[in-house]
């Protein structure tokens, strides 16, 4: 089945540093999305990015589908960026079955 690997498992930064989170998946994915989980548990969508590069604010996502990888870049990190970041892949086309990676836990220190 579809496997999603994320790295690093955890990351500690000083405020202002940049972060690069990686997501690798085991077969060609038609749909890929990045999620953020607040320390309190709330999950929110960040990017739907099946291919190419997308930006929003200090976040940039780049997906290279034929290389089965995606990255999430956080520039000028802030303490409020702390939390866990997940990438998720639709298991196969148009099934709505989604498989999540195990996440990267980010801690940004003041």
């Amino acid at each position: 089945g579809q496997q999603v690997q994320q790295s690093p498992a955890s990351l500690v930064l000083q405020e202002g540093e940049n972060a690069e989170l990686q997501c690798n998946f085991s077969s060609t994915a038609t749909r890929l999305q990045w999620f953020y989980q607040h320390p309190g548990g709330r999950l929110v969508s960040l990017f739907y990015n099946p291919s190419g590069t997308k930006h929003t604010g200090r976040l940039t996502s780049t997906t290279v589908t034929n290389e089965r990888r995606s990255s999430l870049h956080i520039s000028s990190s802030q303490t409020t960026d702390s939390g866990t970041y997940f990438c998720a892949i639709e298991r196969s086309s148009n099934t709505n079955k989604v498989v999540f990676g195990t996440g990267t836990r980010l801690q940004v220190l003041p």
């Binding site: 089945g1 749909r31 999305q33 548990g41 709330r42 999950l43 929110v44 969508s45 739907y48 099946p50 997940f86 998720a88 639709e90 148009n94 709505n96 079955k97 989604v98 498989v99 999540f100 990676g101 195990t102 996440g103």
Partner: protein, 114 residues
């Protein structure tokens, strides 16, 4: 903004008891999902639904049933709860199409089975 609510937010149950977790969405989304989150596993799909009256098995359906009586409501039922079902459960709603499969999550339910 999309709204997904879950009840209860916290639940303590006894082994062998019946537990029902409820989810309500006001987004008019066709698809709804139940996940559980455990340390080291991320989120795993238990059941999902394409619309009222439909339920589909996810990756870890054993020990769980689901019910989708209406567009707005999706329940997860543990007929005979076991300690291994202690977890945090998330409900989500969403629609998929050319634009992707964005999902909106509820706040989670923390279930402890003693």
């Amino acid at each position: 903004e999309a709204a997904v609510t879950q009840s209860p937010r916290n639940k303590v149950a006894v082994t062998g008891g019946k537990v029902t977790l409820s989810c309500n969405q006001t987004n008019n989304h066709n698809n709804m999902y139940w996940y559980r989150q455990d340390t080291g596993h991320g989120l795993r799909l238990i059941h999902y639904s394409y619309g009222a009256g439909s339920t589909e098995k996810g990756d870890i359906p054993d020990g769980y049933k689901a019910s989708r009586p209406s567009q707005e409501n999706f329940s997860l039922i543990l007929e005979l709860a076991t300690p291994s079902q202690t977890s945090v459960y998330f409900c989500a709603s969403g629609d998929s199409g050319l634009g992707g499969f964005e999902q909106y999550f509820g706040p989670g339910t923390r279930l402890t089975v003693l």
